[in-house]
Amino acid sequence: MKIYLLTDFGSTYTKVTAIDVEYGTIVAFGKAFTTIEDDVTIGYNNALSQIYQQLGQFVLAASLACSSAAGGLKMVSSGLVPDLTAKASRLAAASAGAKVMKTYSYELTEFEIEEIEAINPDIVLLSGGIDGGNKAVILHNASIIAKVAGEFFVIVAGNRSAATQAREILEAGGKKVVVCENVMPAFGKLNIMPAKAAIRDLFIANIITAKGLDKAAAMMDMEIIPTPLAVFEACELLSNGTKAEKGLGELMAYDLGGATTDVYSMADGMPKVPNSFISGINEPFAKRSVEGDLGMRYSLTAMYDLIVEEDGGASFCTAGGFAMGAVQSWLEICRNDPSVMPHNEYAKYADIDASFAAYAIRVGASRHVGRTQKIYTPNGEMLSQEGKDLTQVRYVIGSGGAVINAQNPLNIMKEAIYSPRDLNDLKPLAPKILLDERNCLAAMGLLARREPDMALRIMKDSFVEIG
């Protein structure tokens, strides 16, 4: 038997999926605690031994891996105007698979030095100004970033005319700098691929080692990539298909994790109703957004804070039929043990956990999709659309433990569908909902790099339609 081993070094677990090359199917799965603090290969070998137990001897076709261990690829991005270069910088970082902790616009202040130090990013992406445009802000921000303590890289991807000077300022502050093309070279024109490539190169060349993954990397047949990038590529494949087989067309996917909620859309997003027009930038066909305040364990407190901010938690509790006290208890339990599941003695918290999951999907969706605003003109009412119109998207995929292990995943994933409650959000109106029951999206993104047809088939076969 010839096998592909696909490994996902997660923050809590190291997961290994084995694919039979001949039959193109998942034949074994192993899971063990990630041991990044001492030696990541210990956990890897533990997971691997489970594969050996299940399969006996086999011939290895290739071993591929992705990682979100040790905090994943943590980034901060910055730009000038929120809707323009700041947004472009965030899109670039997110599409590279980074956990974008914060996006700044306009001038950074001294106050933000501490904030960035607390985030402790792996990379800061600095942009601002179209080519030949504003230089003052990116140069000012370079001087602030130069003062931020910490070992991190800075990618300068802003106004070309300011790049050399920005580099000098940063290097004088002891920062390691990479300069690449502007994320927005001309007004409204997105150019995120060069920054995405620069992030990928830094991750492979430096961050893998910094995170203690180099020993594992040496055991693989391909460089280790960020897990969200693997998921991104799986979604692209599933949407586009291959030469031999058609994809599903326009789709969205949700990966609900312990630290973040990741939302992907593969769709053009152009206005679908007459009398509407796009304002702001045209977002890319393949888009990822990542929400650091919507996570089921490490970021549960942040999500709780959002819920409380809305209305003290009243609608959250009423809709779920539980008391605030119980919500707080569950929050405390999760805080103490991020690997806890709402099972056994904690089964009574299953509804609360599911409500948090539904909330994450709802808010993650709202932030990802575009929205319309009515404007009244001398020629009558028109709709100004900002972001992507995803109303016609036909498939929504749910992935991540909190979704697939829930008693009623459909209840959670329903929040990805348009609802009059969020009137102007351009969420899919009537999509089919698929569940990534085997949680194989990341693994299939890895496999896609070698065997796209096989990866596509496995996804199509293993996703179950639940609504």
Binding site: L80, I130, S161, S279, M382
Partner: protein, 149 residues
């Protein structure tokens, strides 16, 4: 170097200006001509095309570090569409940016001195009557930016 190209002697770069047709106005032809004329005159034109909102003008000017915003309005609702643009510019740190307006700014044939006053009161630096030759505006910009030769 092309004799027509205006250089800012400090950094050898072209001066940026933002151009667009404001509001819900779809008249596209004049905008194309203005874009052509201004580009030819050596400006770096950020052209927003038709149906540009005040916010788009302002944000584009910020990113482009523009020295001027040239607003066209052809369909007669220029006054409502332009109101508040100067204040938004001030708010965005674009203090002193030149604002020009032209086209058919108001409905029908009204006394232009009155129209000009209305727009100047709103903070526009120069206001042009219907059918104005864009070259006049080019001359004014050179003057306003201190590029008179």
């Amino acid at each position: 170097m092309d004799a027509n190209v205006i250089v800012n002697d400090e950094n050898q770069e072209k001066i940026s200006i933002v151009l667009g047709v404001i509001g819900a106005d779809v008249h596209a032809v004049g905008n194309k001509i203005l874009n052509y004329v201004f580009t030819k005159a050596g400006f770096n034109v950020v052209n927003l095309g038709v149906m540009a909102s005040q916010q788009e003008f302002v944000e584009a000017a910020v990113e482009a570090d523009a020295k001027a915003i040239v607003v066209s309005s052809l369909y007669g609702h220029g006054e409502i569409d332009c109101k508040g643009l100067r204040e938004k510019c001030d708010e965005a740190g674009l203090a002193g940016i030149k604002l020009y307006a032209g086209g058919n700014l108001v409905v029908g044939k009204q006394d232009f001195t009155q129209v000009e006053k209305t727009f100047k009161d709103m903070g526009f630096d120069r206001v042009y009557p219907p059918g104005s030759d864009p070259q006049i505006n080019v001359g004014h910009m050179r003057e306003d930016f201190g590029l008179m030769i």
